[in-house]
């Protein structure tokens, strides 16, 4: 278990920009999905 957390921490440290980018894309997708739902 400790190794898993260590690995996750390592990945978060080095790859956080990619995750931030993915979160941003998700944010835009979630925002637009509500607009499309209201139009339909």
């Amino acid at each position: 278990m400790a190794q898993l957390w260590t690995t996750l921490l390592f990945l978060l440290t080095y790859y956080w920009p990619y995750m931030a980018a993915a979160a941003l894309v998700g944010l835009v997708t979630g925002w637009l999905s509500l607009s499309q739902g209201e139009q339909g």
Binding site: L11, Y18, A23, G26, L27, V28, G30, S33
Partner: protein, 170 residues
Amino acid sequence: MIPLEHIIEIALLILAAYLAGCVLGYGAHRAFRAHLHRPRFARAAELPDALAAVVEQADPPPPRRSAARRLAGAVEREDAVPVPQKATAQQRPPGLPAPREGKGDNLRAIKGIGPKTESALNDLGIYHYDQIADWSGAHIDWLEGRIAVKGRIRREQWVEQAVLLATATV
């Protein structure tokens, strides 16, 4: 070279971040729209009945009274002192001789107003949303029975709808 297990974990983390962003964006948009479409209390403050209707909607009373009386908006609470019906408090809403700038608003945009009711309102000199938005309880009492079934104006919230439409068209 990145190990395979790291690639899988990175993919999962990115997917989790994407999904979290989706949920966050959806929630933020909903909150934003709710904020935009909130009732205009500043305007409704000028209309005591409109404000009461909004408050009643936010905190609906328990179904103690008959449905007809509640729909008529007569009484909110059972423990409240019964208010005598104001037969003399009726007042004709002020009308205009003609629509401003020669063109009235589309009153049928208000849910509950059809072509017949719109024509009746026009006959009374009511052409614009802001006129309906300015109706008081006495005006509504006067109108009910003349152009609409008793309680319908309050139940369908014409005044609140008109406030929103009037502010949207400004």
